[in-house]
Every structure is written in structure tokens, then in C-alpha cells.
């Protein structure tokens, strides 16, 4: 784990105030893709907060992940518009196709899956996003194509 990067985040917040806890966690996650144990310990040292308190805050919010995400991080929208357009089916298909549940990373490290509430593209429902790239009007057929392409892309690396 790259602790220098965490130190850089910490240095951005020299006045160690509690109100910077969430921004620091957000910065760490942006760099590492998740909130590592090391980062919690280091932030705790800086803000003089016990790790348990930090986990208490971090787990309250849906944004933070504690597992390393896969090479392709899939976010599926479960907002209202997407639900009406059948996002449950898409979610179930992804889970079956990748053999992982929401919040998990596939064993080959290729895919991870996260559910989000409204990606803000409701007109294009149902929406999924892979590493931040949006796919609109996703149905099973489209999904299998997307996954196939990603597998190919991941395999060649």
C-alpha cells in the first residue's frame, strides 16, 4: 500500500480539525479506490481520533468502500427511474454473470460491483457505469455485450 499518497492527503489538511475527516477519507478513496486500514490509522493519528470512531463515521456513509475494487468497478443505478425501467433484472444478471454480490470483488480481481442511488442520468434509465463511463438503456443483451468486451480488455492486460 502506498502510504506516501496518504501522507500527501494528510498534509493537505494541516489544521487537524474533525470537520476534515470526511474530506480526507474522500481524498484517500479517490487515490486508492478504497479506504485502507493504514489510511484509517494514519488519519486517526493526525486528527487524534480512535480508529473505531473513524470507522463509525466511514461506515455510516454509503460512499466509502473498504475492499480493493476490481479493475472494472461497476456501479449500477437503483434510483427510482431506473427501477421503473427494470434495473433489478440488470442487477440480478450482473450478479449471476460475475458470480459476485453487491459490494464484492470477483476472484480474478477483474470486476467489483456497487449499487448507487440515482446516477443523475434518469432520462437514460436504466444506467450502469463502469469506471465512471456511463452505459444507457441497459438490458440483458446489452449487458452481456458490455461484460464480454470488458473481459476481453481485461484479459489482454
Amino acid at each position: 500500500m502506498n502510504n506516501n499518497a496518504i501522507n500527501e492527503v494528510i498534509e493537505k489538511y494541516p489544521s487537524a480539525k474533525r470537520e476534515y475527516l470526511i474530506p480526507m477519507l474522500q481524498d484517500v478513496q479517490e487515490i486508492q479506490g478504497f479506504v485502507s486500514k493504514d489510511s484509517v490509522v494514519m488519519i486517526g493519528d493526525h486528527l487524534k481520533l480512535p480508529g473505531a470512531k473513524i470507522y463509525g463515521v466511514a461506515t455510516f456513509y454509503n460512499q466509502f468502500r473498504f475492499n480493493k475494487p476490481g479493475q472494472f468497478h461497476i456501479q449500477i443505478c437503483r434510483g427510482t427511474a431506473c427501477h421503473v425501467k427494470g434495473s433489478v433484472n440488470v442487477l440480478e444478471s450482473i450478479e449471476r454473470a460475475l458470480n459476485i454480490k453487491v459490494g464484492q470483488t470477483s476472484r480474478d480481481g477483474l470486476f467489483s460491483l456497487e449499487v448507487v442511488a440515482c446516477l443523475g442520468a434518469c432520462g437514460l434509465a436504466p444506467v450502469i457505469s463502469v469506471n465512471g463511463e456511463f452505459y444507457a438503456n441497459v438490458d440483458n443483451k446489452k449487458l452481456f455485450k458490455i461484460l464480454k468486451n470488458l473481459r476481453k480488455e481485461g484479459g489482454t492486460k
Binding site: S93, C122, L124
Partner: protein, 403 residues
């Protein structure tokens, strides 16, 4: 909607905030923004910088001696943080759990300082109202709901996107004229308005004027301004279940009526929509009984919850029960889902005459529930079928029947 203001014209928000801050004598203002909207965050950041260079934000604004610092706070994704006191906790770097009022934030809010909280749309309206006068703003709208309102149209509707209409415009106009109606020849069923804790408006009430008071009479609310249109392929029990699931997982857990009550309601809804095979008589009885408890439960959650999330949590259920009771009854007594959404109540069969034995469905079926040999009609093993609908989707010969 608020995102559109920030992405499209962030200066309106900044100006509104500056005026509001001047009005109450605040020197620090926060914008709490969803982390999922990076573009909005970036645009607002840039706009604040620009405003600073022109002296509209910062120290001694326009030589008035008034200072204002605007800070952007990225929300860490929790619905309850829209509630005022939870939002304050979240900015302070704590868990976003509401606290009892009084003291109201206006007396003791962020870092125990007096705080006012307003919505982005509200603030962005201020500059225009000050420039054009209150009469101008009040010239549009109804007796008690003034001005315009922006709605986000989505769901089963031809034109999706944002629409700004005068308060008092009818729902029918919004859906069938502006929205272009329901696509693919399906029939209108309901519109869900006001976000997860809003309500549904059925076809019988489609002539309703949209304003704050009228919405309340049909058990809905303005809320976030989301309008999700649903056609006849939407199951209202499923919609209620969906919202309850969302609210249940977003409940902060501070008070028992909200935390446990929403969970019980969700369980009841799940039972209504769940499978018909191997149910014991006792379970059937419980399924019938539980529905009777649902309205009691709803009243208790409404009365005894601390914050707005809990107080409005039963709305989707109450509203669907009020307008679509017959759909609940069908689910409970006839074990039927007319919209063919509640999978466990559906039976998939293959129409022998139509099936050509192309084997496509058998290959695609995730549970290997489809059996048969090439060029002969296939059949579905009910025990294995999970009702995922894959066969229906892949069949090129319309030979899958769903009931």
C-alpha cells in the same frame, strides 16, 4: 434539478447565497453537494474563483465591508443528510444523524452557531426576485404557490429531462403535452412525485393542478421535484416495496419506529409479493393478517419518528394502498401480479405450437431450467425456474407465455 442550476448557471446560486448571507449577517456559507455530481462540483468551484476575482465573494465585497467565504462540502452519500440537523452533523465530520429540535439550527446550528439552511433552487431564485420585484415573481402561479417549479421528468415517458412550469399547471399537461405521453402505446398508470417519501397520483386524479396544497390532498408532495411516470407495466406493490427498501436502508437508525418499523413494513410487502409454492397455512394467514397491521404501523412511524425521513417513510405505502388497493388485493388473494413484475408470482411456460426447438432459451437460462431436444418443443422445469425472464427476452418466436 438543483444540479442543473449549479452546472448551468452557478452564479445564480452564488449571488443568491451572497444576498442571503448579507441579509442574516453570515460570513461563512456552505454548499453541500452530492459527491456523485463531479461536474457540478467543478463548475461551482470555478465559478466561486471567478466571483472572487471580481470581488463578489471574499473580503470586503464591493467595498461594503461585508465578508463572505463559500465552502463546498462533498456529501458522502447518505439520503438522511438532506435533513437539516443531519446535514450539520455531516459537515462537522460526524455521522449524519438528526437531532431533536429545538434548539433549531437558526438558534444553534453548525458548530453551535446560528445557521439557516436553504435549498439550491430557493437561493437561486433570490437574485431575480430582488431585481424584478416580488410582484413579478408572484405574477405567475396560484393563490398560495407562487412562481414556477422545475420538475425532472423520467420513467415511462417520451420526453425525459427537466421542465419548468408555472405552479398550477395540470399534471395532464406536463405528462401528455410537454412530456409527449407514454411511449410504445402503453397506458398511463401513475406518476410518482416528491422523491422516495412522496406519493403516487393515479389516472383518476390526472387533472390535478400541481401546487403545494393540491398535492397534499392526493397524498403526495412537491419534495425534490422528481416526476417518475409509470405505465401499466409497473406493479404498484413492487413500487411500494422498492421505496420501502430504500428508506429502510437509509434510515439512520437513531429512533426505533423508523429503524424497526420500516423494516417490518418492508417484510410485509416482501411477503405479499413472494412465492406461492410451499407456503404453510400459517404463513398464508400471516400474509393476510400483516396487511391489516400495515396502516397501524404506518401511523406509528409517522407519529413517533424524530426526523422528516421517518415521518414521511410510510407515504409510498399509504399512497399506493389508497389508489391501488385492488392491486394489493390481487397479490394477496389471487396471488397474481397483473403487471407481471413480481417474479415469484409468475409462471413461465413454453407454448408448444410456437416453439421451434431452436435451443436458444435453454442455452441462456441461468439455472438450466429449460429442457428439450433440438427441433422439438422445449419445456420449463418449474422447480428450477427462478422467473428471471431471460427466455422471454431471447425467444425469437414469441413462444414464452407468462402468467
Amino acid at each position: 434539478m438543483d444540479r442543473a442550476v449549479i452546472e448551468g448557471d452557478p452564479y445564480r446560486l452564488i449571488e443568491g447565497m451572497a444576498i442571503a448571507a448579507y441579509g442574516i449577517g453570515a460570513s461563512k456559507a456552505y454548499v453541500y453537494l452530492r459527491a456523485e455530481y463531479p461536474l457540478a462540483i467543478q463548475r461551482l468551484k470555478d465559478a466561486i474563483e471567478v466571483a472572487k476575482t471580481y470581488g463578489f465573494v471574499g473580503n470586503n465585497i464591493l467595498d461594503s465591508g461585508f465578508n463572505l467565504e463559500i465552502v463546498i462540502k462533498k456529501g458522502a452519500v447518505a439520503f438522511v443528510c438532506g435533513e437539516e440537523t443531519a446535514l450539520i452533523k455531516s459537515i462537522e465530520g460526524k455521522r449524519g444523524m438528526p437531532k431533536p429540535r429545538p434548539p433549531y439550527p437558526a438558534v444553534s446550528g453548525l458548530f453551535d452557531k446560528p445557521t439557516i439552511i436553504n435549498n439550491v433552487e430557493s437561493l437561486a431564485n433570490i437574485p431575480n426576485i430582488i431585481r424584478e420585484g416580488a410582484g413579478w415573481f408572484n405574477g405567475v402561479g396560484t393563490e398560495n404557490s407562487k412562481g414556477t417549479k422545475v420538475f425532472a421528468l423520467s420513467g415511462n415517458i417520451a420526453n425525459t429531462g427537466l421542465v419548468e412550469v408555472a405552479m398550477g399547471t395540470t399534471l395532464k399537461e406536463i405528462i401528455f403535452e410537454i412530456g409527449g405521453g407514454i411511449p410504445d402505446g402503453y397506458k398511463y398508470k401513475a406518476v410518482q412525485i416528491g422523491g422516495p417519501s412522496g406519493g403516487c397520483i393515479p389516472e383518476s386524479e390526472i387533472d390535478i393542478q400541481i401546487d403545494y396544497e393540491s398535492l397534499i390532498t392526493v397524498g403526495a408532495m412537491m419534495g425534490s421535484g422528481g416526476l417518475v411516470v409509470m405505465d401499466e407495466n409497473t406493479c404498484m406493490v413492487d413500487v411500494a416495496k422498492y421505496f420501502m427498501g430504500f428508506i429502510q436502508s437509509e434510515s439512520c437508525g437513531k429512533c426505533i419506529p423508523c429503524r424497526e418499523g420500516t423494516r417490518r413494513m418492508l417484510e410485509i410487502l416482501e411477503r405479499i409479493a413472494s412465492g406461492k409454492s410451499n407456503e404453510t397455512e400459517l404463513e398464508t394467514l400471516e400474509r393476510f393478517q400483516s396487511v391489516l397491521h400495515m396502516t397501524d404501523l404506518a401511523t406509528i412511524i409517522q407519529d413517533a419518528s424524530l426526523c422528516g425521513l421517518g415521518k414521511s417513510a410510510p407515504n409510498p405505502v399509504l399512497s399506493t394502498l389508497r389508489w391501488f388497493r385492488h392491486e394489493y388485493e390481487e397479490h394477496i388473494y389471487e396471488r397474481k401480479c397483473r403487471a407481471k413484475v413480481c417474479k415469484e408470482l409468475l409462471t413461465f411456460t413454453i407454448i408448444e405450437d410456437k416453439c421451434t426447438g431452436c435451443t436458444l432459451c435453454a442455452i441462456q437460462c441461468p439455472t438450466d431450467a429449460i429442457l428439450g431436444s433440438k427441433k422439438h418443443p422445449h419445456y420449463i422445469n418449474f422447480e428450477k425456474c427462478i422467473g428471471c425472464g431471460t427466455c422471454l427476452e431471447v425467444c425469437n418466436f414469441d413462444s414464452i407465455n407468462v402468467e
